[in-house]
Symmetry: C2
Subunit: 233 residues, 2 copies
């Protein structure tokens, strides 16, 4: 609702940090993550690349801002980071937090790769971790065990698993039966696994093998392990 007192050429809403960051998320959502360049982002906003620097320190600041936008989505989905947790049931509380974060990641499949480039945590992120840590503490974890827990979970606390080799999805190298037979001589175990296990839930996927069942398996494995560690402490 811009009042247009001037004789009506386009209103031209002035840029702002908020608009820049919102556009950045949009650019990333629409293209791949490498399409998020300063020049590209400027174009999306109908402006020259250099204008961005008036509102944002540099590209790193853009990426940090994008992360905060994602965290805001998670916070909203959770109804705040500091929801009162059922003290004893840290496990389902954690599980819920993490799987909610994962829903947000599934909406922005490029987000994990941005998280991976960040070196320091923004205030919102710190709050997120404070919430997780609080849940653990109230669930009976020592600080030491809680610390181990965070590291053992790694990126899973944010709802994604960092994968090592995720072949691009141009899928040039479809494996056919003839190849399998050939490989089977030298790689019996791998071929055995490939023929026996299959992934077929395309909707819950964040890259290669990170689908819902895979993610949950590892998550529960770790949570169960932690549970045993408190019990025997």
């Amino acid at each position: 609702m811009v009042t247009e007192t001037e004789s009506g050429v386009e209103p031209r809403i002035p840029l702002s940090k908020e608009r820049v960051l919102a556009a950045a998320v949009k650019v990333a959502d629409e293209g791949a993550i490498d399409s998020l360049t300063m020049r590209n982002l400027a174009e999306e906003l109908g402006v020259e690349a250099m204008s961005l620097y008036y509102h944002v320190a540099n590209k790193d600041a853009v990426l940090d801002g994008v992360i905060d936008a994602i965290m805001a989505e998670i916070e909203e989905a959770l109804g705040g980071f500091r929801v009162p947790e059922a003290g004893a049931d840290w496990k389902t509380a954690l599980r819920h937090r993490i799987l909610t974060a994962r829903q947000v990641m599934l909406r922005h499949p490029w987000a994990p790769s941005v998280f991976e480039t960040r070196t320091t945590m923004s205030p919102v992120l710190v709050l997120y971790f404070e919430g997780l840590l609080g849940t653990l503490r109230e669930g009976g974890f020592s600080y030491d065990l809680a610390h181990h827990a965070m590291h053992a979970l790694g990126s899973r606390v944010l709802g994604f698993s960092q994968e090592l080799f995720r072949p691009e999805d141009d899928a040039g190298d479809e494996v056919n039966d003839a190849m399998l037979k050939e490989m089977a001589e030298h790689l019996p175990y791998l071929v055995g696994m490939l023929t026996e296990t299959a992934h077929d839930d395309p909707d819950s996927t964040l890259g290669w093998c990170d689908d819902e069942t895979e993610f949950s398996f590892a998550l529960d494995l770790i949570l169960d392990g932690l549970e045993r560690r408190i019990e025997t402490a």
Copy 2:
């Protein structure tokens, strides 16, 4: 031992793929990983950047080659990937393989970040995974469980843990007691953890919190969890 029949100006050993890759590892070892640029690599070899392309397809090929060099080191440290494993004791066999890989990573702290950029596995890597998988299978894992195991372990099978936020070590933001008091009001749990847990084994470290004890904790947590899963299968 270059025979120098020509009147003696520098022998000038001709370039080769091997020399290029060896130089690449050297450049990475000496500087940070971002010092590994084509121009920089060329300079190390006393040659123009464009000459590299005669021996190597592109930068991706250089990085793939560097990975293979690391894998060769691991293979050597292990005495081959296919060492006969004590069938039953998959756990110590796996543990040994992984901690040996980790020793190599500690010699090349930049290596994890290169692994993280790779999208497809080279033949040597495939062999490494075949070996791991074989160990699991011989230890009684179903293919399905073995598959889950690989994903749950993630980068840990190669001896490093992918960390999410590793603050640069210029350490500009030393935390002093005054700040801690101030933070304590809003972040009681985090401050509690920071003051209680400390890392002090600088030699076993691969970035921020990935030190030997942290790594082993998570590794054993997962291995123990897997052990339970076979038993109850």
